[in-house]
């Protein structure tokens, strides 16, 4: 139950790393084979076509990412803590190994992707926005914010974090992600204080 990692999982691990740092069109089956210590024909045994591998990598990434966030509704955690965790997930990905969000990379090159793979990138964004909206809605206990505004706020948070990874990597400065996260806090996008309204206490 500890070492579940068969070769297919190892291939997925390597592929994920490569996609997240080079993009879908930036790696080959031979790159993977070399790192896995096998031949490229053996990679094809596990994933017949490159698109199959792309879909598998993206699905696994999205599922794992969402599982790591936890349930937006049932969780005993405060919405603000959930948002902090959300930001931390992005920050961690980049600072640990300089890698982009997998679906951010895919989104950037989306018109050069096989349709099945592009669909997975879309799935990631939709599920992330839905999760954020639910958390933001819990944050707005009074229910005063209109739904379109909550949706906009979710879009800003997701976009800023995806963009943060791009900007941080362009600059070659991983700390940029942390500063952007701080900037989102300063703008009260991650807390329950509604814009233009006062709060009494925590």
């Amino acid at each position: 139950m500890a070492t579940v990692s068969h070769k297919a999982d190892e291939i997925l691990d390597i592929a994920e790393q490569l996609v997240r740092s080079q993009g879908y069109n930036g790696f080959s089956f031979r790159d993977i084979a070399t790192r896995a210590g096998i031949k490229s024909a053996s990679v094809h045994y596990h994933f017949p076509a490159k698109a199959d591998l792309g879909v598998a990598v993206a699905r696994r990434y999205t599922d794992r990412f969402l599982a790591g966030l936890g349930d937006a509704e049932a969780s005993g955690a405060h919405p603000e803590d959930l948002l902090a965790r959300y930001v931390a997930a992005f920050r961690y990905a980049l600072t640990r190994d300089g890698q982009m969000c997998l679906c951010g990379v895919l989104g950037a090159e989306i018109t050069a992707l096989p349709p099945e793979v592009a669909r997975e990138a879309k799935r990631f964004s939709k599920l992330n926005l839905a999760w954020l909206e639910r958390v933001l809605s819990r944050l707005d206990k009074q229910g005063t914010a209109d739904p379109a505004s909550l949706r906009r706020r979710a879009l800003v948070i997701l976009s800023a974090l995806e963009g943060a990874m791009i900007v941080a990597r362009s600059l070659g400065d991983p700390t940029a992600v942390e500063r952007i996260a701080e900037g989102l806090s300063e703008a009260h996008l991650l807390s329950s204080r509604p814009i233009g309204r006062k709060r009494k206490s925590t």
Copy 2:
């Protein structure tokens, strides 16, 4: 003085389109040749190596982008109008033809780029942040905001807009960029109203 466009410029136009929709590793010299009505060998005449083309496209894009923004200091325009223009530049790029910011794409696949091309992506980010900081600083006439905070705010704006293009393209919904821009406004990131402080008038 009207038709300055020689073949080299036409190649740059095509290359820019291709990079912005497919990424640097998503197009070939033949793609360009075909669209330009010439052979790939002729493309090499104008740009010996792919990296040369990549650098030229990125430099031209950055220079044109900044020129379109106008001088952050000397301009008679109000800082808020400059920020509005900035947001519009991103919005326009995507809604007109579904294309990413060129340097956003490059940033996403940066570790798979020739170093010279990667350097151009960095240049774009640095110049954009500098421009935003100068405008935000003009917006803060009282000089009450601390410089680190201005820098964070610039980072959030740039990141959100770069990310907006990614998210909009993943979702297949160009209107997402406009909603994110509206979200930035709602969060008072594009106006002179300092967070948590009141203003008297315009």
